[in-house]
Subunit: 168 residues, 2 copies
DNA sequence: CCTATCATGTAATCCGTTACATGATTAT
DNA sequence: ATAATCATGTAACGGATTACATGATAGG
C-alpha cells in the first residue's frame, strides 16, 4: 500500500465516484466535463492515471470487466469516503488566484482595447453558457453544484463588465 | 542554444526584468511578490530556475558579481524583448478557471455556512489589502498594473458578496 | 557573541501535460 | 467499405512544488 498525497484532482475523482458509483475512466471524463469541469478542467489522461494512483493507496478499488474490452472499473472505498468526508469538513482559507492569461498581458502592458474586445466576447459567451445551464437545471441537482455555478455566473458578470469597460 | 517553451512564468520573469533591469533572483522574488504576485504566485525556487532556463535559450543573459557572493545577475536580451512584445501583441481568448479550493468543497457537498464564514473573512481581508494598495499607489504606476488591480478588486467584491450571502 | 531571520541556492520528486497509438462505432 | 469520430489507454517529458542546505546580516 503506497502513501500518496491527495491533490484537488484526487478529490474530484473521489467526489465524482461517490456520486456516480462504479465508473470507467471514460465515464469519469464525461461526468467531470459536464459538471465540475466548467471551473476546474482535467486532462483526459488524468482520469486514467489518477484512479490508478488512488487505487495504489486504497482510496478506490479497481476491477476489470470480465468480457470484451476488459475495461477498468473504479469504486470508491471506505477509506476514500473517509478522506472525502475529512476534506469536506475542514474549511480552507486558501484563496483563488486570478490566473488569467489576459490579465497577465494587461499587467505587462498589452494594448487594453484589443485585449478587452476579445476577452469581453469570450466571457460573454461563457456567461451565456452558464446561465443556460442554470435555467435548464433539473430540480434534483444538489445545492453544491448549484451554488458553485452561481459563483461562476457572478465571476463572469464581473469579468464581462470589466472587459467591456476597458474595450470602451 | 536550447529550444524552450515559454510559459506564463517565463513572461512574468521577462516582464519584470524589462521593468526593473538587471536583477538577481532574490530581487525578482521581491518584485513579483509586490506586484503580479498578488494574482499569480510563484515559488521562490522558480525565480532561480526560470531565469536559468531563459538564459539557456538566449532570452536573458546571465552574469555574476565579481566580488563577494558572486550572485547571478540577469538582464533581458533583445530576443527576450521581442518575445515579450510578440506575446503582448497577440490577444488571447483563453479564459480564467475559477480554481478555488473552497468552491470545489462546496461543489462536493461541504457545509456551506462553515465554508462561507471562513472564505468571506479571507476575501474581505484580501479586498481591503487591494484597496489599500490602490489608494496609496504612486502616480507613476503604469495603467497595466493599475487595471489588473482593478480587476482583482472587482473579483474580490463579487467573492465577498457571494460568500457572505452563503454565510447567511 | 549568539540566534533569528533574511538571502541564496540545489536536488529530488511528482503531478500534469503532451504526444502517441490503437480499438470500437457510427455515418455516408 | 471507408472515413470519421468516439473510446481507451500508455509513455515520455518537463515545469512546479517540496525539501534540504548553507551564507550573510541584524538585533538582543
Amino acid at each position: 500500500m503506497q502513501e500518496i498525497r491527495l491533490t484537488p484532482t484526487s478529490y474530484i475523482v473521489l467526489g465524482v465516484l461517490e456520486l456516480a458509483g462504479e465508473s470507467t475512466p471514460y465515464a469519469l471524463k464525461q461526468l467531470v466535463a459536464g459538471s465540475v469541469g466548467y471551473f476546474w478542467t482535467l486532462q483526459h489522461a488524468q482520469l486514467y492515471t489518477e484512479p490508478e494512483r488512488l487505487a495504489s493507496a486504497g482510496y478506490v478499488s479497481e476491477t476489470r470487466e470480465e468480457t470484451g474490452r476488459r475495461r477498468r472499473l473504479y469504486t470508491i472505498t471506505e477509506r476514500g469516503r473517509a478522506a472525502l468526508r475529512q476534506w469536506r469538513t475542514e474549511p480552507t482559507s486558501e484563496l483563488a488566484e486570478l490566473r488569467e492569461p489576459a490579465l497577465l498581458k494587461l499587467f505587462f502592458g498589452a494594448d487594453p482595447k484589443r485585449l478587452a474586445t476579445v476577452q469581453a466576447a469570450a466571457n460573454r459567451a461563457r456567461l451565456a453558457e452558464y446561465e443556460a445551464i442554470r435555467d435548464s437545471m433539473p430540480d434534483d441537482v444538489p445545492p453544491g453544484p448549484r451554488q458553485a455555478l452561481e459563483m461562476g455566473i457572478r465571476f463572469e458578470r464581473a469579468a464581462v463588465e470589466f472587459w467591456e469597460e476597458l474595450a470602451g
